[in-house]
């Protein structure tokens, strides 16, 4: 318990530090939101100055930081200049879309990689092993971007799948089942890309972790006692091999908000990715900070989860 409390305190300090840094960096970036307006000769400098004062952009950075923190506690999480609304409502909608995508993809990746990795590890050197290692090597060297674009091209050519976006035009008029079907068909390409991008790493880790444990003397000893092969794999080897996998799981959870940014932008999925890109380009300061901070929160939560799971699963960690 004490250990977890310590990790939590650590996490909170990390959050504070990350918020300061985020704020600082976005602030240091040259230019501001109103630069474009400034270029417009029809708008007077006084108007620009008034706008800046209205949004508090003329205050020094520490003051703005404090005001932002106040805004966070008030539940607004800052204000978006472009959308003219508190950041929170913006974030919530987009984050929900992102989580739908990454949640499905992460779940599927783990559900495929773990059994597959265990099976491959049980037949070292066999055809499944060689095929698995070969294909993951290829997949690892193909960038996400290329995968996404490739699928989109395919979709365009074959008209089999919608080309990007989350919903079709006229979605609101659909019946319930049609809505679901529409959503699912739009999900296919981005989810497939994410799976193909994330599967190789996990598969290799599962396989190598299991393969190493299978060589341990206690597996051999259990076999000498007549324990069946299936039991050896799942009751003896998997728990012992779980340690690195749990850390990876923590990363998976931690990356739920940030892992799909590129894919979203390329496939036009209305998640945090396009929002972040847009806000960065237009210097929509508080949106950028808001998105960055929410990713940080998830990262910290993911790590905490991994720590808690490790303590629960591995007695050796408990004793330290």
């Amino acid at each position: 318990m004490k250990y977890l409390r310590r990790r939590l305190a650590h996490g909170i300090m990390l959050l504070i530090g990350a918020s300061v840094l985020c704020f600082l960096f976005t602030d240091l970036a040259p230019g501001s939101f109103f630069d474009e307006i400034k270029l417009n000769p029809q708008i007077s400098p006084e108007t620009v100055a008034a706008l800046r004062a209205h949004y508090g952009l003329d205050q020094p950075t520490p003051v703005r930081y404090v005001r932002w923190v106040e805004s966070v506690f008030r539940g607004e999480w800052g204000y978006s200049f472009a959308y003219n609304s508190p950041v929170r409502s913006l974030l919530m909608v987009r984050a929900r879309n992102t989580l739908l995508l990454t949640g499905v993809a992460t779940l599927l990746v783990w559900m495929i990689a773990v059994p597959l990795g265990i099976w491959i590890a049980d037949h070292p050197g066999g055809w499944s092993d060689r095929l698995g290692m070969g294909s993951t090597a290829v997949l690892l060297s193909v960038p996400e971007l290329v995968l996404a674009l490739g699928f989109l091209c395919l979709a365009v050519r074959t008209h089999a799948l919608p080309v990007g976006g989350m919903v079709s035009v006229g979605f609101d008029q659909f019946g319930q089942w049609s809505k679901l079907r529409d959503l699912l068909t739009h999900l296919i390409i981005p989810v497939l890309t994410l799976i193909l991008a994330g599967l190789p790493v996990l598969l290799r880790h599962v396989r190598s972790s299991m393969a190493e444990v299978m060589k341990a003397p206690f597996i051999d000893a259990a076999r000498a006692h007549g324990v069946s092969n299936a039991r050896l794999l799942f009751r003896y080897a998997l728990p012992a091999a779980a340690n690195p996998l749990i850390s990876l799981f923590g990363f998976s959870v931690g990356g739920l908000l940030s892992g799909s940014l590129l894919v979203e932008v390329v496939t036009g999925w209305p998640g945090l990715g396009p929002l972040l890109l847009e806000a960065t380009m237009s210097r929509d300061l508080y949106v950028v900070v808001g998105v960055a901070m929410s990713s940080t929160v998830f990262m910290i939560l993911g790590n905490l989860l991994a720590d808690a799971m490790l303590v629960a699963v591995d007695p050796r960690v408990r004793m330290q």
Binding site: M1, K2, Y3, R318, M319, Q320
Partner: protein
């Protein structure tokens, strides 16, 4: 040892004198407020006579390895004194340690772990010489081969990895490495455990030989007194962090004074008497 040799030996001053040594390990447990305190050494007094083999016996957890580490200056004790050749060494600074380290060398138990598998046998033996910059280049390799021959390993094996050696051969290699800097005191921490009877006897014979040629003093730490007990001049028994008994072999075997020593000896001798009984039974 004859009576004359014994008196001659006793007249020389002790090589190592340990007084009131103590060391405590504190472990903070992640899940309770309490700290886990282990008094590994409690007020240890010990003397090692020069050119003698002192066997240090005790159960696991009795503090033998901690004592060895402190003597070899791999760890600093929390209190007490260690006198080596008339100098106090437990609070030495780095400069003095440079002079001191070659004179006290250690051979560990797990030879497979103590020898770098990426080095060749000759490189392992030569490493201390290289570190202390006593030799270099061709003479280095030559000296390494000489040392290997001295411990009974063929110089043809100089380029082989330690993994290709058997357990007994690895211990010989570790001894060769320990001899490289011509030490005065050799500490062997459970170096015979895990070897079979014949190999143990061979290593003990080797140690007996080089003791004479190199004028070595030995501290041999073991949990099994049967073979070592035959070669030791002095026996010290350690129990829960202190030395409970210390004396010549004859005295300790003949009239053990502490209950723990008696228990240890009883267990050892039980086996041996069962063996003699079995032999006697067959001959009748």
């Amino acid at each position: 040892m004859t009576a004359e040799q014994a008196t001659k030996r006793a007249a020389r001053p002790a090589l190592v004198r340990v007084k009131g040594l103590h060391k405590r390990y504190v472990q903070r447990r992640a899940f309770s407020r309490s700290r886990f305190v282990v008094d590994a050494l409690r007020n240890v007094d010990l003397e090692l006579q020069p050119e003698c083999l002192t066997a240090l016996v005790g159960a696991s957890g009795s503090g033998k390895s901690t004592l060895a580490s402190c003597l070899a200056m791999l760890e600093k004790p929390d209190g007490g004194e260690i006198w080596f050749e008339g100098r106090e060494i437990s609070r030495c600074d780095a400069r003095e340690l440079i002079w001191l380290r070659p004179r006290i060398q250690m051979v560990f138990q797990d030879s497979a772990g103590a020898l770098n598998p990426f080095f060749s046998a000759a490189q392992i033996v030569a490493e201390p010489l290289e570190v202390q910059r006593r030799e270099s280049g061709r003479t280095l390799h030559q000296r390494a081969c000489e040392l290997m021959e001295e411990v009974g390993l063929s110089a043809d094996w100089a380029d082989r990895s330690p993994l290709e050696f058997s357990g007994g051969q690895r211990q010989r290699l570790a001894i060769a490495r320990a001899l490289a800097l011509q030490p005065t005191l050799l500490i062997l921490d459970e170096s015979l455990s895990g070897l079979d009877l014949v190999t143990q006897a061979q290593i003990l014979n080797l140690l007996a030989d080089i003791r004479v040629t190199h004028s070595l003093t030995y501290l041999l730490i073991t949990h099994d007194l049967s073979l070592v007990g035959q070669m030791a001049d002095y026996i010290a028994v350690m129990h829960q962090g202190s030395i409970v008994e210390h004396g010549t072999r004859q005295r300790v075997f003949g009239s053990p004074q502490q209950a723990h020593t008696r228990k240890l000896l009883a267990a050892t001798q039980d086996l041996e008497s069962a063996f003699r009984a079995a032999q006697a039974e067959a001959r009748t």
